[in-house]
Amino acid sequence: MEFTDILIYAVYILIFPGALFTCLFGLWLAGVDRKVVARMQKRKGPPISQPAWDFLKLCGKETVIPAHAARGVYLAAPYIGLASLIVTVLFIPLGGLQAFSTGADTVVILYLLTIPTLAMIFGGSASGSPFAGVGASRTMVSIMAYELPFILVILAVGKGMTPDGYYFTFSLEQITNVQSVFGPNIFDWRLLPAAVAMLLVIPCEVGQHPFDVGEAETEICEGPLVEYSGKPLAVFKLSHAIKMFVMTALFCALFLGGITTGMLWLDVVLALCFCTAVTLVSMTLLNAISARWRVEQLFKFFWTVVSGLALASLLLVWFC
């Protein structure tokens, strides 16, 4: 490997689209979300920089470690979650710019995306609080709820790309290439139910309002985060913001990919605009208009309606 290659990978991992950019854009998305929710409720709302201020403030707070906590896991969990999210970003093409590419990007992403949620479950369980225990078990239920439709969506998109011949791929690069020839997947009527299902999976995976059963602050004191304070909590809040970016970027790669203007930087800016738009449609809108669901309602909804939509798409691309 040449020195310049190493330099390019270092820039990819540390600056763009890796750690630095991901954090900043994630915090910006979270700020836009809070502002738009406030405007929809006829409030003035916090400034868009509010999540960034929250993050900085939490960095300056005392870190309390409960006496019953398993110290190592308790402190390591948030950082493992954050690291795996940043790695996930490197596999998602952003307007054609993909830092790392494998033959099976979507499978890698599927596995990497469960790690932040698992980190939250482990961290919460390690804190030794009964509230965290309840939150962890609820978070597990929500993972099971959204993973099934999520996998079905990915199978449908991988299958449904080419009209000619049987073709199946897990590679996001190929998905993007095919979209640049045949147009974005969202305009394919067979994949429309899958797109709707994915829009509903995004808030559940991120832990946004109607589906945030694991972090219900009014019922179980923010669940797994109940004992966290200071820097570990700041990292969890940052992970939450980054998850918004990761999930919307994945949606854009799966359904809005392959739109090229000829200039790479313009493509990237366009992709970021799409990310913001998807955030507003899938997360902010639901967040502003709905109340939190009960655990069993969430589970039933995702395994019937959302999985049904994704399955319909899968069957359509298979037989039509």
């Binding site: 409030r43 709302g45 916090p46 300056g60 923010e222």
Partner: protein, 147 residues
């Protein structure tokens, strides 16, 4: 450089934790009114936290009854530094009409130092926002004094 940013952040995102220490619910309703669209304290970064571990400002309402005294003190101890203690309404400062009752252990300043008192029975939302903004300023000073 980062220390200054973090110090500034302390005043810009104060999260509240509200403890009802035997209040008649009047002050509690006014605190909720502060967060509604009409007054919208969220534009200043205020947010109700679900647990004392996430809080910066502890808002205590009520005359601190014998039953609630230990719980209030324990909850306040759970808040990580820097923290600011705000009393909401007349009760926590003077016990108000409940003064002399066998079931009242207050006022609160017998047990913990109080940073801001918001007067009134119940205080107006404008007064509460004013008091909370002052508390945020004190929070920043406390953060600057740390380390």
């Amino acid at each position: 450089m980062f220390k200054k940013l973090i110090d500034n952040a302390a005043a810009k995102s104060p999260w509240l934790f509200h403890i009802n220490a035997g209040s008649c619910n009047g002050c509690d309703i006014e605190l909720v009114a502060v967060l509604t669209p009409r007054y919208d304290a969220e534009r200043l970064g205020f947010k109700l936290a679900g647990t004392p571990r996430h809080a910066d400002i502890v808002v205590v309402s009520g005359p601190v009854t014998v039953q609630s005294k230990d719980r209030v003190l324990r909850t306040i101890e759970q808040v990580p530094d820097p923290k600011v203690i705000v009393t909401l309404g007349s009760c926590p400062r003077s016990c108000n009409v409940f003064k002399g009752s066998y079931s009242v252990a207050g006022p609160l300043d017998k047990y913990v130092p109080i940073d801001v008192s918001i007067a009134g029975c119940a205080p107006k939302p404008e007064a509460i926002i004013d008091g909370l903004a002052l508390a945020a300023k004190i929070l920043k000073e406390k953060r600057e004094a740390m380390k």
